[in-house]
Subunit: 277 residues, 4 copies
């Protein structure tokens, strides 16, 4: 009892340490972007025998985990992923967790990471996950729609450049019989046009018809779509029947298309809020 009274007093005596926490509220009226990057994923990919240059199971697991983040957290309007990274965009007027940067980024990092392990089996089946993977995150603010779109364009341009390089590189190795060192030398100093040419003339591959998900990455947005389900109902006459019911549902949908140009944004005018507020 004495100790407990002491503990109560102690607690109030120690309470002052709370004041060392600092406020990290994100500036209002800015988009809040949280980007995650896999930690040591080069090694992780090796150890889990990921297919080169793209492992569809791994990419789909990334997408599945990102979807879990969008569904569990509030106010994420768009997410974009490629390779071992994923960016999540909170709407500019979000007040989730009072816009505290630390809360937003740790929630994203945590939900993504636990989902990655949780859904592993769905994509890798019996192949075991050898150890718990790590992702680090950061927060960046963008004050205008232009800035945000340029951010997403930057990531998609990065995806394009890396994927083209990797596609040619691994084609040279896997189909061309080059060693990795030879492939590297071969590509040194080549321009994009040269890489396209190698693929086409030597391996008869048209880069532009490669899987969109590899070339463009994955963009997740919320969309309202009609969904038809059947429902067992009792008809006026008393018989039972299956009736088709159409319901509009808001769900996360994946796109593998260009998001640099205008078309995507014209088709989805609700993703961004106006600059005029």
């Amino acid at each position: 009892a004495l100790f407990t009274a002491a503990a109560n007093m102690a607690k109030s005596k120690f309470d002052y340490v709370r004041n060392f926490e600092t406020d990290d509220t994100c500036l209002r009226n800015c988009y809040i972007v949280v980007r995650l990057d896999g930690r040591n994923f080069h090694k992780f990919a090796e150890q889990h025998s990921f297919t080169k240059p793209n492992d569809d199971r791994a990419l789909e697991l990334m997408t599945r985990s990102a979807r879990s983040v969008m569904e569990e957290l509030e106010d994420i309007v768009i997410a974009y992923g490629q390779s071992d990274e994923f960016s999540f965009v909170f709407k500019r007027t979000s007040t989730w967790f009072k816009r505290r940067a630390s809360k937003l980024m740790t929630h994203v990092a945590s939900q993504f990471s636990s989902s990655y392990v949780f859904y592993w089996k769905e994509f890798f089946g019996e192949q075991p996950l050898l150890y718990p993977p790590g992702f680090d995150g950061r927060v960046v603010l963008y004050p205008s729609n232009r800035n945000l779109r340029d951010y997403l364009s930057w990531r998609q341009a990065d995806c394009h450049i890396n994927n083209m390089y990797n596609t040619v590189f691994w084609t040279l190795v896997q189909s061309g019989g080059l060693s990795t060192t030879q492939a590297e030398d071969r590509l040194k100093g080549t321009l994009a046009a040269d890489k396209n040419e190698i693929l086409f003339s030597e391996f008869n591959i048209n880069y532009n018809t490669e899987a969109p998900g590899h070339r463009k990455g994955t963009t997740l947005i919320w969309e309202k779509r009609d969904e038809i389900s059947t429902k067992r109902t009792t008809l006026p006459g008393g018989e039972e029947a299956d009736v088709a019911v159409t319901r509009s549902r808001r769900r996360v949908h994946a796109h593998r298309c260009d998001i640099i140009g205008e078309a995507f944004w014209a088709e989805h005018p609700d993703i961004l809020e106006g600059d005029h507020c």
Copy 2:
């Protein structure tokens, strides 16, 4: 090819968005504390039928995940956990990830969360994990050893107060036959002494002999201990034999003791660096 050249240009055109990232370096010569808290763990505990007031499987899984964080990340000198929270202390001279707050807290949140799912089965066996759990994090800096110890004392005093309340509350419900509302009423306004008295006189429970891990939480530190292993060796005479080999190894060890008083710190003088630097 044209598109690719455009993409390269585009990338450098979009590059400017990098400059919107701001620096969040933690002040030097301060302890960096990252505290994680379970998100909606009240509901999570219900849905996974956690034992009240303490579920040892859940507590051990928390500890296992925290150990994974200490082992995989750099420079964590002590960690303290209770209930659904865990605090990690980076040494004051750490330069890991250039002391960037966002990197440190997301790494901790990510590694802890993926480990929680990864090691679930070790503690819950066949009981399935229903969905990926979330943890949020924050960073707090402490400039002096006194401040850091007061922070840890604050968390342990919190553990004590909550655990005493929960112990009496659930004893009244589980052994005393009270409803949760009745138990709540019974405890309204009681002091620590009263709670001790209820436990002792009505249920013959001495609170001070309850499990230390419940009363004190879990403290993880690095310790060098001698470990003895047997090694098959060929003896001079040519026969094979098992020989005991003693090796000093630095490992994470768990303590369930008081960390408010001086004793623990006197026994482990290497945890804290001096204030005089």
Copy 3:
């Protein structure tokens, strides 16, 4: 000599303290507003016998000091002042002092304060300045033109409300013979309409024709205007003559008009940069 060698060594030994400085770069593409407020200006006004409710000498000295800030510092596109406060707006694309908040706000505070003392005599003549006054400052970022205009509107609405109150209050005291306490009581709970009515029916004052500088505060902007000067020139015939020379010069000009509505901004379309960047 020994000591000096030691000093050099010492300096490099102490150099590490530089790393404790933290980066306080302002988010790009946002307007940077620095607002100054007079410290204890109520007392300062008393001690220097400022006229109530507005002292034109003091207001003009504020404006003179603000003009000095705009002329000496870079990238300030508009400034707005009223009473003992002045706000300075750096353009959203400014890179002056790498957008470091501390540099911007201390430069403004310093230049304003030294100017206030330096120009005192120009406005107060032989009345001595009794002690050096202080102004504190703060930095606020605004991501959109709307936000910035709302900020300026907020300050001008504040000017309006305070000035109307002060005008009626001091009229009641100075012309109505009320004590300050009586005037305060009289105004308790009155709406704007009531105040207008008191002025008009009791003192025959039309608030809307009061000095614009008192009702609207002072807005400073850069404007290019033609300036005509005379220059002594030798004519072809050999005689000397004064010739009028017109030169377009960019100078800081003061306005005392409404800046809440659209008109001011339509007339000066160059103050704000577009949101679409």
Copy 4:
């Protein structure tokens, strides 16, 4: 009246812009250092014909302004100045202006700057101040006494190195008849010992007996000293007489001594608070 009602509404409509202000509270239990630097003081010194290498009037004006800052603001325990810079140290437990960095640094910059102009005449007499000078500031936090002392040592070592260089340089020019370019060449690559040697063997100057204020800079601290004043009193017998009254008064005192070593700190044990809190 209508407009006024609108203004009230407007004000509350615009009020939201307050929330864009961010919190910049300084971490508790750290020393808060504000350092000011003269803006373009090289040019300022030229234009005001400052004596080379040190102008005592200018140095004393800096000190006078710093004293004004210490007296007008709260919680500054020590200040150190040299050349055109001055550092102010707020005690680690200060809660002045809630430890908001922007408030502290703008107050210092403002008070110093207005004082510099205000007290100019005291030191420069009839020589006019040509324009209002500017000073910029920054805030740096130091968590330990060691860090703070190393900061001050860093500034004093800087003073020493610069002053020695300037002393030799201007001696070569003023007494040695060298041009500034020749003096620069002569000093290129010289060590401290060489500079001492030049002064001593060529100009018979012992650097160590140069004015302490030039070699060591100026340190300001609060000290309680007995002050004797005379007071006219009526004696018991009825006559009037001057009586000496001793009163202990806390004032800012200037020191021009070494603050790198232990002696100064041992003599003034009250400047720093303990690390053990």
